[in-house]
Amino acid sequence: MPDPVTRAQGPRGYFGPYGGRFVPETLVPALEALEAAYEEASADPAFARELGEALATYTCRPTPLYEARRLSGRLGLRVLLKREDLNHTGAHKINNTLGQILLAKRMGKSRILAETGAGQHGVATACAAAREGLRCEVYMGEEDMRRQRSNVRRMELMGAKVLPATSGGRTLKDATNEAIRDWVANVEETYYLLGSAVGPHPYPTIVRDFQAVIGREARAQCLERLGRLPDAAVACVGGGSNAIGLFHPFLDDTPVKLFGVEAAGEGIATGRHAATLAAGAPGVLHGALSYLLQDEGGQVLEAHSVSAGLDYPGVGPEHSYLKDSGRVRYRSATDAQALEAYALLSRLEGIIPAFESAHALVALEELKDELEPGAAVLCCLSGRGDKDLDEYLLRTGKGGST
């Protein structure tokens, strides 16, 4: 017979066998409180109204669906870009931070804590906190602070404090470790504003729900534009928040093929990549059971990607479930391919995509072979690429020194 504590949670927060809550006991009351606050907020029309207002007037929802004519011509597909890059602060991350900051306010928390990789989540958190007058501290790996210097300055300008994570590979995984340790120590007054669909229950659900606005809008826009659903939808997968946000409203539309794109770094065969679903095995990191890049002893491996936002050895638990179920197919794109796509979209459409989003664009080229000519493909352009220009010039040897 199950004991009372075991029965209390039951299968809540699991996606098939994945997800759950793998945290120190100290965080249990905080996660319970968050879950309760989220349930309450979800049922409160005033919460929906306040969030809707922020999404419409502070960022610019609904974001447009743009038919990329020249790219379509080149690929022989009909490419529809969901323009998350046009959001305030330049990425989809703000959909989640505007939602979670309202939860933090409801819970009476005085301090906002976040981790960031590319800095996009950090910036989106900093602005949301500024707008509510809440203290904000963001952990960022030292290596990422170097790669994404302008985002560090942006966060600081908005009044946030950026705390360097100096352990391990000094990227997103390490920043997340530090943020969780800080949260454990300051759990009473701190709201941990997690930036992707990862972490212990209820985070993967909360982040997915706030990002699902991407898919809901895109679905309606496709129906209006095409008079039907798209043939396929594509998104890049780091922790997996823009992808799950795009996919979720399409999960029951089985004719719509769904593709997630992970970062293959220098190539999966080299071992220097971030293709968790392709090359990982189920394991526990940062509070959830999900696919994980790990060695045969169960130690977590360092991920590698030119894209700081995809440079993560874990992935959200719902993606693990969707991979196993076969509903979503996961592919990967290398650093070199992503850099090419970065330049290609800039040249063909005058849109500079984030390195992260460029990975999704790479898959478009390959999907030609899987889809009918002229098939309509919805692609999440999760962010703008200005932040990556220095790194692009450095990597391609096209710029002077930066």
């Binding site: 504590v5 120190p24 006991e25 995984k173 790990q294 002893g297 130690q299």
Partner: protein, 263 residues
């Protein structure tokens, strides 16, 4: 004798338990068997042998760095279990195997249970495994799981954790990660009183215990203490292998004497 019975017996006799923590493979792989013996001979009631992990979420800087060093020198769960097995043949002192969940899952719960039993591991401490998910690890013959309680653990849950009948409750002295701290907060003592009121299961306090004074203050409200980061720090200051055992002994003996004097 099993660990739970052993700790209950000590509790009845008024002996405060001392449980030092070692990071397997730190400062070097060959140090661990030596240090286990020294700690046992210096009066440890049980020893927590930590398996290093790449992402130790519940640990502060001292244990993070020790873990990274140990991993860089090739320590693994399988090797730590091998060390435990050899130690069990030499000394009766019970070993507590501490590991984050992922290495245990990777080895596989069945194989882990078998190896742990062979090594006579008395209990497992898995800081990122809550009772709600323990099904991932429970296998017939596996060592019992120690349960954690924290200062913010509500009354009802304290009782539920105790009802799982762990060999002891690992009481986390502060909201925070491991790491030596100087003082004992009033709130910590109040928490320990709460634990004692909620259950008769032995309660050992850990996180931040740095020396004899603090150990006795905490042990006055609990059944024993776990000393981790402070011991690791002492080891990190050794100039060479010849100093390891002496350093561990001269750190642990005063704590032992203080606990015995206070009992």
């Amino acid at each position: 004798m099993n660990l739970a019975a052993d700790l209950r017996e000590k509790k009845r006799a008024g002996r405060k338990a001392l449980a030092p923590y070692l990071c397997a493979g730190y400062p070097a792989p060959e140090a661990t068997p030596l240090l286990l013996r020294s700690l046992a001979d210096a009066g440890a009631d049980c020893i927590e042998l930590g398996v290093p992990f790449s992402d130790p979420l519940a640990d502060g800087g001292t244990i993070q760095q020790a873990s990274a060093r140990a991993l860089a020198q090739g320590m693994t769960l399988a090797k730590a279990l091998g060390i435990a097995r050899e130690f069990a043949a030499e000394r009766p002192t019970p070993l507590l195997l501490m590991s984050y969940l992922n290495p245990l899952l990777r080895m596989g719960p069945r194989r882990f249970a078998d190896l742990a039993r062979e090594a006579r591991v008395a209990a497992c401490i898995v800081p990122d495994l809550l009772p709600e998910a323990q099904g991932l690890l429970t296998e017939a013959g596996a060592p019992p799981l120690v349960r954690f309680a924290a200062p913010n653990t509500p009354e009802g849950r304290l009782r539920e954790l105790a009802a799982l009948d762990p060999p002891f409750l690992y009481c986390v002295s502060v909201l925070g990660v491991t790491g030596a701290r100087d003082a004992v907060a009033d709130s910590t003592l109040a928490f320990l009183d709460r634990v004692r009121a909620a259950t008769a299961v032995p309660a050992l306090v850990g996180f931040g215990v740095s020396g004899p004074g603090q150990a006795t203050a905490l042990a006055s409200r609990a059944d024993g203490v776990i000393v981790g980061s402070a011991l690791i720090r002492v080891l990190s200051e050794c100039r060479g292998p010849e100093e390891w055992q002496g350093a561990a002994e001269s750190f642990i003996l005063p704590v032992r004497r203080a606990l015995d004097g206070a009992a």
